[in-house]
């Protein structure tokens, strides 16, 4: 029940790997041209981490016999790109005031978040085995009181963007340079609380705030467009005063670009087009895998597909 302690060995590895990825991915600022080879190297590193995270998710859900596997797999590349490619965090000092803030508003995808955080060294990956077990710190939805790297408790949809807006407001008041990232489900955007925050964040010119929408076009029971249509989503965000970027949410380099700072002084909405269940053929784009639990055989197939 106590706060999980950081994993020092892992976090040293994290520092080393993130440095490598960022260096590789860096644009040549003078020529403003990308360096294809190095970019490819960065993408390969991020893909490796993403595969680790996806495999971890499958194992956690297999063990717990519960979870939200479809959304975990769709959001993985976003999580990994944020933590390994973009953000400044220190897993050994998770409350460092100058850190970038990361809020997983679609908190039902806790398994992907926990796997990413453990991979970074926020805590020992062995802890992942306790996912949803009695008295585990790793609840079905993230609890900041127990899990380092979690900034606010989510699980009820529509909470992340207001909280992230508050973080970004504080940074602006303090003229601090840290940024705030929040990842939202697409179905989640049906919650009006998001539009309250979207309006206020634009009004306050929170250019340090980036919202990533995991646009997998599925929600719990059906396709978003069949439930309560969200298209045209870019128009909605633009009309609420945001800078909008649309991107393939499984393309790490494209995500790296899209996650760069605001160019307009406005908050940035990254609409990441993703595939729910990404990486496991029989789960991809299928609504039932929102929270279905794979059989032992399906787990084996999934892990095999995620190996290569």
């Amino acid at each position: 029940m106590a706060l999980l302690p950081p994993d020092a060995a892992r976090s040293a590895g994290y520092r080393e790997l993130t440095a490598r990825i960022r260096q590789a991915a860096q644009l040549d600022r003078d020529t403003a041209a990308a360096q294809p080879d190095r970019e490819t190297a960065a993408a390969a590193e991020l893909a490796r981490v993403a595969t680790d995270v996806r495999r971890s998710v499958v194992r956690m859900i297999d063990r717990a016999r519960m979870g939200h596997i479809g959304g975990d797999l769709s959001v993985t590349d976003i999580l990994v790109t944020c933590f390994y490619g973009v953000m400044s965090v220190d897993p050994e000092n998770p409350h460092w005031p100058g850190r970038d803030r990361f809020v997983l508003s679609k908190g039902h995808c806790a398994a992907a978040l926990y796997s990413t955080l453990a991979h970074c060294g926020f805590f020992d990956p062995a802890e992942l085995d306790t996912f949803m077990a009695p008295l585990s710190a790793l609840n079905g939805h993230p609890n900041k009181v127990k899990v380092p790297g979690v900034e606010t408790n989510t699980g009820a949809l529509g909470h992340g963007l207001p909280v992230a807006t508050g973080c970004a407001l504080a940074a602006k008041m303090d003229s601090a340079s840290w940024r705030t990232f929040v990842v939202l489900g697409d179905g989640e955007l049906q919650e009006g609380s998001n539009w309250e925050a979207a309006m206020a964040a634009a009004h306050h010119g929170l250019s340090s705030l980036t919202a990533v929408i995991d646009r997998n076009r599925l929600q719990q029971g059906a396709r978003t467009e069949d439930t309560n249509a969200l298209d045209s989503l870019p128009d909605k965000w633009r009309s609420f005063g945001w800078e909008v970027r649309e991107v393939d949410g499984h393309d790490h380099l494209a995500l790296l670009d899209a996650l760069s700072g605001s160019s307009t002084g406005r908050p940035v909405a990254v609409i990441a087009n993703t595939i729910k269940g990404k990486g496991v053929s029989f789960m991809e784009d299928r609504v039932e895998w929102h929270h279905k639990v794979p059989t032992a055989e399906q787990v084996e197939t999934a892990l095999a597909e995620l190996a290569g």
Partner: protein
């Protein structure tokens, strides 16, 4: 192994859905309104039968309740089916203003209440709902204990012509209601005669209270067991009689104790017939990780916990 473990147990969402479909086939005013919760509210069958009478507003609880009030305005009888924590926590002001204060005939069905979503944690636990909704004027609060009461509640609410909140249990419970039991406001159900102590229990705690009573009988303690499917309005007469005729009262509910069953009984007792009580429920903490059964035991919401409370109130703690 406990007694209840040996009996068939039921997820009451099934009784709920069957009764709703049966009512809907007789009364075309009945509609279901949900928030991307067709599956979790067990409405797939309803949708098959009445595709045009299932309204899904998406993940938007304020709109969910407001839309239901509008449907009621136009003569429909909406059953709002949504996970209890979000229905009550997210749309509370809509429940107050659009439904209760506007006297709209809307049936608010809190699915998977209490700690039914055990491992999903406090955001998904609806343990505050009873305190939250008892505070709202002009709203009946019903907490069924088994499939029989769930069906009765669905049926009663259709004819109520007033705002109703109805917990639809998901955590499996055995049948507890006797065949001739009443189901009406201000009517408790007497489940066991007894004259040492009275246990008043609702929802998932009812079967546990029965088990406690049966085990205590073997120890020579005579326990009256009452159940009040209507938490509001509650059967004050039965409570007062229990306070007068037995030496103390234990209440048990899968909810925070601040304003639910325990609070209702305590207020009745001190006003009319003071007696010793023990109030069992979820204390004022956020639950740790664990499944429903684990959490109920963790908070002593078990036959053992009830037995200990009964002994405590009798002074043989």
């Amino acid at each position: 192994m406990t007694v209840t473990d040996q009996r068939a147990t039921f997820d009451c969402r099934q009784a709920f859905a069957e009764e709703l479909i049966s009512l809907a086939s007789q009364d075309e005013r009945i509609v279901a309104v949900c928030n991307d919760s067709v599956g979790s509210s067990n409405l797939v069958g309803f949708r098959e039968r009445f595709p045009d009478r299932l309204i899904n507003v998406g993940i938007a609880e304020q709109d969910l309740v407001g839309v239901a009030a509008g449907l009621a305005n136009a003569g429909k009888i909406p059953y709002v089916c949504a996970a209890a924590p979000f229905l009550t926590g997210r749309a509370l002001e809509q429940i107050k203003a659009d439904v209760a204060y506007s006297e709209a005939h809307v049936v608010l069905c809190g699915q998977s209440p209490g700690m039914a979503y055990g491992e999903l944690g406090p955001t998904h636990h609806s343990i505050e709902d009873l305190s939250w909704l008892r505070a709202v004027a002009n709203l009946d609060v019903i907490v069924p204990s088994d499939p029989v009461q769930t069906r009765a509640a669905v049926r009663w609410a259709a004819a109520a012509r007033r705002p109703v909140y109805l917990r639809v249990p998901r955590f499996k419970v055995p049948e507890v209601t006797p065949p001739d039991a009443p189901f009406a406001p201000r009517q408790a159900v007497l489940l066991r005669e007894g004259n040492d102590v009275t246990v008043i229990a609702i929802g998932s705690l009812t079967s546990r209270a029965l088990e406690a009573a049966d085990r205590l009988r073997d120890e020579g303690v005579s326990v009256r067991v009452l159940n009040t499917p209507f938490l509001d309005p509650i059967d004050e007469d039965a409570v007062i009689a229990a306070a007068r005729e037995t030496r103390g009262i234990v209440t048990a509910e899968e909810a925070t104790t601040s304003g639910g069953l325990g609070a209702a009984v305590a207020a009745t007792v001190v006003t009319h017939q003071p007696c010793p009580m023990r109030i069992l429920g979820v204390p004022r903490v956020f639950a740790p990780t664990g499944d429903t059964a684990f959490l109920l035991d963790h908070f002593r919401l078990s036959a053992d916990g009830i037995i200990a409370a009964v002994k405590d109130v009798l002074g043989h703690g």
